[in-house]
């Protein structure tokens, strides 16, 4: 399977999901490309494009909550930090993704 074609397909499907949620792909194209490539590898290995930045626990209920785009399962947290955990998606008004730190839930008053 061709990695670039798979990345294009993931981009196409992810965009359809995240746009109605108020998110977009990060303007950092190099980061987006790198993360999508990791998702392609994870999908080839595990059958689903899991989040490249969170560990698999081999607990299906938990693991299904980190299939990209995992925004609906972590909405409150990601809305607070204006990005998803990886930084692949950011709020639609974000133009400088580097200014958004990767804060865990407890640092934004959650969990």
């Amino acid at each position: 399977m061709d990695t670039q074609a798979k990345k294009n397909a993931l981009h196409y499907f992810h965009e359809k999901v995240v746009t109605p949620l108020g998110f977009k792909f990060t303007p950092d194209a190099e980061l987006a490309d790198f993360l999508l490539e990791q998702e392609v590898a994870l999908e080839a290995k595990h059958g689903a494009p899991f989040c490249p930045c969170q560990p698999l626990r081999h607990n299906r209920a938990r693991d299904m909550q980190i299939v990209c785009p995992c925004i609906p399962f972590h909405r409150e947290h990601f809305d607070a930090i204006k990005r998803c955990w990886c930084g692949l998606f950011v709020h639609q008004d974000v133009t400088d993704p580097d200014s958004l730190p990767q804060l865990p839930p407890k640092d934004v008053g959650l969990g």
Partner: protein, 131 residues
């Protein structure tokens, strides 16, 4: 020998986002209307030979209805293999669980191959496919 174009179906027979299976000269083919552009692809899924017109077409991406393997309708490229079965929160009875595990063990050896595509052209309101 140069490919020969065969008249397949009228362009009005498939709405954008639709697929239709046809048999042309012994070839099973699915014709896809990808937002106004027509593509022809071999009918059988590159994973387990399910008929692809029973799946879905989203943009140029076909998802097989049987195990959700995914293909690019324009190139035939296999993009993703089958999606793992979701049993939800329920754990199946032990015998069913053992059966599902056996199926999963056998399925892991099944590869998802890219599939053949055919050149198309539109002439006088008809889709022609090169064989």
């Amino acid at each position: 020998m140069a490919d020969q174009f065969i008249r397949a179906i009228s362009v009005n027979e498939i709405v954008p986002g639709g697929m239709k299976a046809v048999e042309l000269d012994g070839h099973e083919i699915v014709i896809c209307n990808c937002e106004g552009s027509f593509y022809a692809i071999a009918r059988r899924c590159g994973h387990m030979n399910a008929p692809l017109e029973l799946g879905t077409l989203d943009g140029k991406y076909i998802t097989c209805g049987m195990h959700c393997a995914r293909f690019d309708a324009t190139t035939g490229e296999a993009l993703a293999g089958p999606v793992p079965v979701d049993l939800g929160a329920e754990s199946p009875p032990p015998r069913l669980s053992a059966f599902l595990q056996r199926v999963a063990d056998q399925m892991q050896h099944v590869r998802t191959e890219s599939i053949r595509t055919y050149e198309t052209k539109i002439e006088a309101g008809w889709v022609h496919v090169a064989l």
